[in-house]
Symmetry: D2
Subunit: 368 residues, 4 copies
């Protein structure tokens, strides 16, 4: 706790006494015309802290925000809801200005004040390229993870590449078993490849250490899917097949919750995979609401999906507001930029190989 | 028809009189132990022509094949079924050798014989890089498309980038309206961006011709989604909002069927989007079964998903076998290679910008 | 001429009557301490229009500017010189402020005024991605090239990929033969591959149309180098070997000057290649000084090198100032961004395949 | 020495007693027709072991081979010479078959025999992608480097990115100071950025740890160049400017030779940079001849240039033949594939961030 301020910047709320805000009107609502339909001129949320004026200088901060959702204002409380989940008659906040003139204020620079401690970090879009110096990013990441292991909620969003390599798979297992992962979001492929490695030592038939291809090895992939389906699920399969390693094994053993979202690319799928993509979104958002740090690795689909859901801030139980850190690890500037362009301005790109990233992270953290 | 052989290579069936095949045993089946579970030692299909020995020299060709599925052999007929769709007791072909010794033969070189007409084309993996000479690939593609417009089934698999540019969107509309598209597979984003362009002239708020960003333009995206949801669907929205251009407009007007598959990245979604990813797979496979040419553009997710479903051959109504052409258009070797590595050996990569590709294709085809 | 203003934005000189500039001191010079060494506090040039105050309100515009060079002020004239070409005692302008307070003023917004005609174009860094709508960029490019064919100086900077494909090589030949290229900058490889194609129909042994690899085809590359070396040069080789197609052929026939700059990757080299990299820079800058439009295609090395040399403006014979257009055509955002990051802010990226770009460009221009 | 065979595969010479080789004719030579010109039908070398038949079963192995060069056979000795360095009358080996029928034999599978120890490693092109499991590649690399530190010759080919990050720059310094680098090949930029970091703590004005941009920081780059030029060279500059860190500092202090090859992109250049690209090739080849392991990091230009020069084998003082290991570290499959396509078949790609690679390598090696 002592070095909290070294790691987690403090939040400066808006100064509501300035004339523009002091004189702001009360925010207006309009009823949703139908289930899953929002009224004209609806206000769409960003992932920044947004305040709604209730009158007489009372401004309410939207909790658990999410990009491209709407604000329901009911009984003096704000709820951030995806348009598809709005019900007919719900009171939706309307107005598209963001500077208070319709009673809505978006506070972009709340974490700015202590920028001397973390210069530049929150003041502009961090668009790393492969030539950006990353030493400091790593050092900060280690600090953040150590802090949030005990006092935050770390969500990993993983692409399948992490399970293809012996060392990176072990490292990810180590991170989970040592408390550095409070929830895992991934797809069918990550789980399948990881279980194939646990069962056969391969990923799509290629030995995850020696790189050699096993004869008929491509059946390993299909066989593990079939076995898990026959046994009814991952947890039972781990037990019955006596699997003792890997990412899914670690999640099951340490009771770290995971969401496996379905995609049209899937084989199988494993029984745990959520077939309905919007139910999968809902399941992912459960963790997005709690996240204090997100590390999205080697998956454009899941990274962007999760990035859309995560607010840039978190209201803590004691009412304090802290930033949510979002790291995206990928080989291409394109993926990272795409996320930033979609509005996830706080996303910090680390351009490197996913396997190396995980291995090095764990090598550093485990020494402590 | 006269130049058929110039464009479409003839198929040479296996010589079943050679000893190894003449002496092959009858293929074996085993009952599926449960719904969605296949028996041990099940045979997984490739996308190549596969023959199953019924006895006494009778070999049956699997129709409408699909990668990583199983063969149900029932009443002297073969059906290729995804494991998840197998029902308890279904007779699943078993055996993992591919050379006849278990009564299963995979015929990889069926389109080889006339390789003088199309040298090299089917003899090795065509892994184009950005420096590969593509003139001939384009010339062949034009011929194939002219042929298959009238005598084949052309499926387009489109990523959203195609709708972001004025000329490429118009070109795609031209291709559809002139018979060069028999079915369209895409995601929510393609349809949303295209309809936004029809309604507001923008893509995610950026003018699709001038590149300028409209004030509050990001609301265009959310507003068109909301309008279509309120109106109940794409077809009605086109009518009520008097939209008169674009890809979805062309599909609706010319009654070209489309499948919009859901993903966890979606906003909205539009009412036509299939939320369940495995139902979406089933809907896509309806077109994969018929496809004679596939053009997959600027979408890794949908390209790989569709590539998994498409056989490398097509059994025509008159019993003749022809190849299915599969073009993947992308900016990165990684995407094209990934598809090839997944077994879609016939996929030919064209490494270029998706917008340029569509514009040039249409500029060439429309002159005829 | 009539549509000049549609294509070429007018230039608005600085308003030297504003107090900060009206009161600016006279610019200072210091003598270079040695050959190739500049004095402390030297002023380094950008590629923007820069003015130096001579006193009494007389401001002098640097002609033929170049990034990271110095200003020599002598006899009331300014010369922009690379530090390595400075001689001991040369009067080098000193001062690092850019707003006039040391008598130096960098004028960044000179082409801003008519931004209504070309909205946004010059107002921010044009960082295209592969998903940027390019229709308008192409339309503008066609206009610019038609104008500059007759009234400008178009420089092409070409990577070797352009010569690897039959159609793109023909298209580039067409562009040169029809006046769309006033100078060509490239490396040994472009010329070698192009001459190999003229002699053998191959590029590194691969047929530039059919894509088939010739037996022992890799010797074609080495043989053409050896033949040209034996014959003493490209011009003689074209004549003696009766070559009748391609890029070098077109340059020779239409007397378009070319610079072939050496690199450590070269085979051969051809006799015309300039071995000394700084002499090569000098030869390239001859054309950079004259350029009104630059098109750099598929070469990071030569694009960045040439980008460093080209000013963002051109002082025409009648004293008017016009912008220099700089297009960079590449497959990766990384290359384009790197150029922009190095200060070539006016560079417009077109993210596509080099071969497609050339073919389409010529298909459009030749119809006129 | 004890574990030599674990790390360095043994070499199996060709079996010259097989009829095709036992009956091979004597290799023929033809005189070079002019300086820098080779005779028709000249034999071009690969980077594999090549043997020339002198008669009566005496086969001579080409030492210090190099791709795309020629063999001079004189006085019973073979010399591998670049065509540009051939002098009129030199006796050049002619013949283009590689199987002995013209007295020339290329031995591709010499390191095959012990493939059980290193399965697959030398049996096919190692084309890693970003999803390849690299754990084993790293483990082998550590072993190779420990072995070759004492008993080999390790050449690093470095792009500038390595100097942009505080930790990777320190790690590279550690590797040099601890004997893991016997020669360094790079360009002007690597040296300039490294010296800028030593002098100002920045790379192109960006702090190499905090990532913040210094005011007027872009002058740091130009100032260090000017200072080194004024002081006459890197060694003196390090002394006079009291620089105490970095890559160039480590090379100077430990007397590790370096070659800085000029390019048309250079600023400056520093006095040590070799302006003539072919003289630079010659200087690089001095180290290529001795190399037993090459690590080429984040530079396409220098990697391919050096890859062209390095044989796949090394004849050791005691006559034994060992493989030369060549690792190419880059972010894009394109660069790695390009090198492999150019014939450097033994190149093993490691797809990752250059900075991470160096940091992790040193973290592992320094613990020993």
């Amino acid at each position: 706790m002592s070095d909290l301020h070294d790691v987690i910047p403090a939040y400066t709320p808006p100064d509501f006494s300035i004339p523009k805000l002091a004189n702001a009107p009360v925010a207006q609502v309009a009823p949703a015309p139908a289930d899953g339909v929002v009224p004209a001129n609806f206000h769409a949320t960003s992932n920044h802290p947004e305040y709604v004026h209730l009158g007489e200088g009372r401004w309410l901060l939207a909790p658990e925000s999410r990009m491209d959702s709407v604000l329901l204002l009911r009984g003096g409380e704000l709820e951030v809801v995806e348009p598809r989940r709005v019900r007919a008659g719900d009171p939706v906040v309307v107005g598209r200005s963001e500077n208070g003139e319709e009673g809505i204020f978006i506070h972009i620079h709340g974490f700015h004040a202590i920028s001397t401690a973390m210069p530049d970090k929150f003041s502009f879009r961090n668009r790393g390229t492969r030539e950006t110096p990353f030493s400091r990013s790593y050092d900060e990441l280690y600090k953040v993870l150590r802090h949030d292991r005990d006092e935050g909620y770390i969500v990993w969003v993983l692409g399948p590449a992490v399970a293809f390599d012996s060392d990176s798979r072990k490292a990810m297992q180590g991170l989970i078993e040592n408390g550095y992962c409070h929830a895992l979001c991934a797809g069918n492929a990550l789980a399948v490849h990881d279980l194939e490695a646990a069962r056969f030592g391969t990923g799509l038939g290629q030995d995850i250490y020696t790189q050699s291809f096993q004869p008929l090895g491509h059946y390993n992939h299909l066989d593990i899917i079939n076995e898990v389906r026959q046994l009814g699920g991952i947890s039972t399969a781990i037990e019955k097949l006596r699997l003792t390693s890997g990412i899914m094994f670690a999640c099951e053993r340490t009771r770290v919750p995971y969401v496996l979202a379905g995609s049209i690319r899937d084989d199988g799928p494993l029984p745990e995979v959520i077939a309905d993509t919007y139910q999968a979104q809902d399941a992912m958002r459960v963790h997005a609401r709690k996240a204090t740090t997100v590390i999205a690795v080697a998956t454009q689909l899941h990274s962007i999906a999760f990035g859309n859901m995560v607010p840039s801030y978190q209201v803590q139980p004691d009412g304090r507001v802290r930033p949510v850190f979002f790291y995206i690890v990928d080989m291409t500037e394109f993926c990272a930029d795409k996320l930033a362009n979609r509005g996830s301005a706080q996303a910090e790109a680390i351009l490197t190989n996913a396997q190396d990233f995980i291995v090095n992270l764990w090598n550093n953290l485990k020494l402590l």
